[in-house]
């Protein structure tokens, strides 16, 4: 028996400790029964690198890696730590941080570029599969590119040809990634005082690619060795993401696929159906998923599925692809980032189609244990395992490719084993909120205006606005921080705007329903939710759609109130379970846009306290926003609420508003233009 104890017992995850979601717990258990390891188990068996965690390991040249860990008790007196070249802990941490920003900005922006390329081919009429679904949105964004929407014909003003507008917008939009001169068009969409701050600090992005390249250059061995100067470039690159690549991605996706309007759908793994062909779409770009949706809903494919013994085709999304097809089509969300392997564990996943970002390589290993076809579709995102099928997706043959993929899944239906186990957990969710639909729902066709929201912020029914976003992280209990933070916020009358995997977490938990307001909200927010008929948590889309939060905040500023800029608003940002470099880029552009932004789990600069202090305190003087960190979700939410209260006090709206009765003299004093 001694031999047996010697044999190293592989550590596995405790399902209850790994996730708050009973469906997820069931599937973790199921995987363990089947002896298939998942990210939860690997997190239990493999600890994160302690030095890497601190952000002070420099491997930017072959003289290193130089590791400058912070002693346990911290450093008293002068910090003499330095690498071979003399790089201080601050420089190293700042460079590592900057490279995360670069990677995140690159990811969002490259996604945006793909969309812009598809849009250009639509404008050039090179593809029949995509078309302009929302011409109003095109007309709305055209002016930002200095593209005229009206033309003069014989002295009369006429509507300009929509195809002409599309082409000019497409060319100018695509040019944003690499234009030689000038600055990003969208920077001017920010409130004017914010734009002026950027201008003054010299951080208005010149083009999207250049800012990413410049980070890579500046963080190369022996270039920028002043952490403050490095952070400045982080700001510029992150703005090129939030107000550039991401915003362009959102806008052009809306033009191509439709601007989301509120709709009802379902969320969590229980949406998969045993008697249907189940196709999971995972990744980020709706360029792929839109076509899969269209193909899966086509009569031919449904009939084909039925001919193969299935009752129909069930699509489900994972990660931000889930958010994209959820907000535009009401296609159910199968789960968050951390549930991707579990979707295959159900045994009911006939195909999983992935494109870019946040896709586990281990999917291939899990798929090997089942009949599931794992299909990669993007030329920049392939996998080494030989069971992975690569069907490259090309906008010129998009429908053809999509049909091929769907057919593959249908054909695979009959190969299912008997081991199907779909946890019967799912929740209803209302999604599809965006800058436009929120405006509409705050007053209808005639009176739609963010002023309605502002009025209720000013009168205190709504204490503040929080953007809670971001990933899941296997180092924390799946969804726990997300849900705890959000519930604590809405309990305190803070309305929550959500994107990304936080959005899916809230949907799974049932927080995206109007009924939630009665159960979890403070009395003020509840009243407002009842009046407008909205959930207290508004789903604004995927991670590139964080640009929607920036624009919503801008609309709040513009609709009037005691504030002049985003940083004046009683608002805060949060990413409770972040893990990706994109999250760092998002955080940086929120901070640089004036938002107090709190991250959970861990902050990757702890090894360089001076640099971290700069992010957590000093940055506020530049743009009005700053970073913060708190792992405990309740404390995390309370930090946000404290900041919101501080802003309310500064704005003079911390006391109950008095009812003002006006006589004629008072009305005369009103701005005549009102």
């Amino acid at each position: 028996m001694a031999e047996v104890t010697k044999e190293k017992v592989k550590k596995v995850a405790d399902p209850i400790a790994a996730s708050i979601d009973p469906g997820t717990q069931e599937l973790i258990r199921r995987a363990q029964e089947l002896e298939i390891d998942t990210v939860f188990d690997r997190a239990a068996s493999m600890k994160p690198c302690n030095i890497g965690m601190q952000g002070i390991c420099c491997k930017n040249c072959a003289m290193g890696p130089c590791r400058l860990p912070l002693p346990k008790g911290g450093i008293e007196g002068e910090d003499t730590r330095k690498g071979l070249c003399g790089a201080t802990a601050n420089t190293i941490a700042a460079r590592n941080f900057a490279r995360m920003v670069a990677a995140g900005a690159a990811a969002h922006s490259d996604h945006g570029r793909s969309v812009a390329e598809v849009f250009l081919s639509v404008a050039r009429k090179e593809t029949r599969d995509y078309r302009i679904k929302d011409p109003d949105k095109l007309l709305a964004i055209a002016p930002y590119f200095d593209v005229a929407t009206k033309v003069e014909v014989n002295g009369e003003e006429m509507d300009r040809d929509i195809d002409e507008i599309a082409l000019e917008v497409a060319e100018k939009a695509l040019n944003e990634w690499g234009k030689a001169e000038g600055e990003l068009y969208y920077a001017k969409r920010a409130p004017e005082p914010l734009y002026e701050k950027w201008k003054k600090s010299g951080v208005v992005p010149r083009n999207i690619d250049r800012e990413v390249v410049e980070i890579m250059h500046r963080t190369h061995m022996g270039v920028d060795q002043d952490y403050k100067n490095i952070v400045k470039q982080c700001t510029r690159a992150s703005l090129a993401d939030g107000w550039g690549g991401s915003m362009l991605a959102t806008d052009l996706q809306d033009v191509l696929f439709g601007t989301p309007y509120p709709l009802q759908a379902e969320s969590n793994m229980g949406v998969l159906k045993e008697d249907h062909v189940n196709i999971i779409v995972h990744g980020h770009e709706p360029v792929l998923s839109e076509m899969i949706v269209a193909a899966a809903q086509s009569k031919e494919m449904v009939a084909y599925a039925q001919s193969k013994g299935a009752k129909g085709i069930q699509l489900g999304g994972i990660c931000c692809t889930a958010n994209e097809i959820f907000q535009r089509h009401g296609v159910p969300q199968a789960g968050t980032y951390l549930q991707q392997e579990l979707a295959i564990i159900t045994g009911a996943c006939d195909a999983m189609v992935v494109d870019i970002q946040c896709v586990f390589q281990n999917l291939a290993n899990v798929a090997k244990c089942f009949h599931t076809k794992l299909i990669t579709t993007h030329p920049i995102a392939k996998m080494e395992q030989d069971n992975v099928i690569h069907i490259e997706f090309d906008e010129h043959h998009a429908m053809e490719d999509a049909t091929r993929i769907v057919k593959l899944a249908i054909d695979n239906f009959e190969n299912r084993g008997s081991e199907v186990m779909i946890p019967q957990y799912k929740a209803t969710a209302i999604g599809g909120f965006g800058v436009e639909s929120i405006e509409y729902h705050l007053g209808g066709t005639f009176r739609g205006s963010y002023y309605t929201l502002n009025d209720n912020i000013i009168n205190g029914r709504i204490r503040g606005v929080a953007g809670v976003v971001g990933c899941n992280n296997a180092r924390t209990r799946h969804n726990e921080a997300h849900i705890t933070v959000v519930k604590e916020l809405i309990k305190n009358d803070v309305i929550v705007l959500t994107t990304g995997c936080n959005g899916i977490a809230c949907a799974m938990e049932g927080l995206l329903t109007p009924e939630t307001a009665h159960v979890f909200c403070g009395p003020g927010l509840r009243e407002v939710c009842e009046t407008v008929g909205i959930p207290p948590v508004l789903h604004l889309g995927s991670c590139v759609d964080n640009s929607r939060i920036l624009l919503a905040a801008t609309e709040v500023v513009k609709a009037g109130g005691p504030w002049k800029d985003i940083c004046d608003l009683p608002a805060a940002g949060s990413a409770p379970e972040w893990m990706s470099e994109k999250a760092i880029s998002i955080g940086q552009y929120f901070v640089s846009s004036g938002v107090y932004t709190v991250f959970g789990y861990h902050f990757p600069t702890v090894g360089a306290p001076v640099f971290q202090e700069y992010l957590f305190k000093e940055m506020e003087r530049l743009y009005g926003g700053k970073w913060d960190f708190e792992a405990d979700p309740i404390k995390h939410a309370r930090l946000m609420i404290a900041h919101i209260d501080k802003k309310r006090k500064e704005l003079g709206i911390d006391k109950a508003r008095e009812r003002v009765l006006m006589d004629m003299a008072d009305r005369m004093k009103l701005e005549a233009s009102a």
Binding site: I430, T452, D455, N459, E530, G533, D663, D666, R667, A674
Partner: protein, 738 residues
Amino acid sequence: MSRLVAFAAIQGGYNIVSKVEGKYKKALQTYDASTKVGFPNTAYYLPVIYSLLGIKVETLEDMKKPLDFARKLLPPHVKGQNHLPYLGPLLDAGMAALFAFEIEEALRYLEDPDFYLHSEDIDEEAGKIWLGAADDTVFRKRGVEFVDGSAPGFAAMVGAAPDPETAKMIVEEYQRRSLYIFCAANQNGTTLIEQLLEAGVQVGWNTRIVPFGPDISSAIFALGFANRAAMAFGGIQPGDYKRMLLYNKNRIFAFVNALGDVNAEWAAAAAGCVNWGFPTLADTDIPEILPTGICTYEHVVANVPHSEMVQRSVEVRGLKTTVSTIDIPCSFGPAYEGERVRGGDLFCQMGGGKTQATELVKMAEMKEIEDGKVTVIGKDFDEIKEGENVPLGIYVQVAGRQMETDFEPILERQIHHLINYIQGIMHIGQRDIAWIRVSKAAVEKGFRLKDLGVVLHAKFHQDFGSILDKVEVTLYTNKKDVDELTKRARQEYKMRDERLENMTDEDVETYYSCTLCQSFAPTHVCTVSPERTGLCGAYNWMDCKASYEINPTGPNQPIEKGECLDPVLGQWKGVNEFVKQASRGAIDHYNFYSLVKDPMTTCGCCECIAALLPSCNGVMTVNREYTGETPCGMKFTTLAGVMGGGASSPGFVGHSKFNITQRKFIKGDGGLLRVVWMPKILKEEIKERLLKRGEELGVPDLYDKIADDTIGTTEEEILPFLQEKGHPALSMDPIISE
């Protein structure tokens, strides 16, 4: 729960739109599509549709577009569970219902033209108690009261109270607060208006209780009134719906009272009104919508007890109203100004041709008079018989450190409306041609002659406290005393008239601005000089001067006229600078005496509008009350729409009736001799002064040379007349110089 409201209102929206679609279809089967439709005498088409959508509905066919729009506006029904947001859809459904209502009412005007009485007053005996849409004449006259604040807002009341007493109680409380009460709809066949009539309340525009119609659809007339105010006085362009509605939210303090059970159609109408920022208060248990945003405060408030309805309503709307608390046995306030005392109600009358009635205000030394003292010399109402006519002298002495003799006529002119404000007392005329009719009801309540003194004392202090410190009133009813007072008064009038008459623009260095209308017509700045009274007719130079003394930070500010830049056209440097600043740069100069060259700006409130008639080498002018066509091709109301709202429009200028006979009237364009046409009613109204001024100008028969609507309403029609009469304008220099 707002969801229930949304559910009901959206349901109501569907019902209403479907019903009106049916009626429209039927009308198309009966009438030709090109049949003219519309409300009487208005330049605003169907005003809600026109103002919000910019669609001019003139024919049956034109109704299709807005009706289709209403249909498209109808949102999906609200689900019970996991519903989608409904606030926007709810407001849209309400708006769809309102568009449909307006079409429904226009169809009623087409199919049943006599359903509504086109009048300011009802004809109760004939059973005509519904007045329908306010025409532009009524609208302009009443609209001005919303502009200058004499009407702080309106209560749109739908349904009926549980009994006539309650109806009377609520409505009279609104009257006391000077609000208009716009009534529509019925509750199981009973209407508020019928209840009021039963309770003996006078109904009509004159008492501010407006009986629009017996159905909920007639509530649309209230909104049509409000939106016309936004277009006429606010200068908001038709189709600019956002500003139109925000203007209403911020300027027109209106709200809805729903009396009785609220059905789906009412809910839709109420939801529609929320778009205007007009909240609803109901006396029944309906779901409330309390958060703010679209309205200034709450949107729907329920279960309001009748005794609190008025107080809660003004609070919810955020409106401050004042109730005059004057110690007399009758109610008092502007709402009673237009109230009549008819033959059957008459207790007694003074003046009016039967006896002499004279009013005189004189300044006194502080020591001479005793403040608050009211003396009645002669018989009071308790001593005279019903139906007896007695003479009356009202002699008011005022004293104060800031008082000047120039203010005497201003104070004296207040007597007319102040006495009219008393419920049950009617006052007509002024000076030595005053006429007071006292109702039986007032005397029964204990009203006595001394109460006239109480009112004048209290109101003079209230309104003119900054210029006077003491007011003493003596009332005479003995013929001898009255005759004596009349004799003395006539000398005073003569002196005053001469002084005012002879005052010229050159005599004074200070003119006065009037920005009373500026919150409504943002770029409009009136400048009032001795020879150019305010275009609304309400303010002359002396009034402005007094107003400034009374309220130094008020709407009338002194303007040092400064260097004269053009004596003929009437342009001053100081005035230009003031106008530029007060109009926030929109207007940097204008001329006082010209309509051809850069005329003064015009708000929507002017009494008359003068317009160029090129073929006649002259000008015409038309007053607000005249509703017919004019030789310039536009009716008054169209003209006001074209050039009101604070614009300086060469070729047109707004002015007061009195200004026509002032010496500087369009002097830069040739003066009064340029006037070739005006409506007969105007000509007659100012006949005496017109004759006098003609004489002064050496054309004693000018009165007969000016054409009017009995001669013609086009330039072609009147030109032969002018030629025949040898109108002086024809031989003047060309009115438009190169």
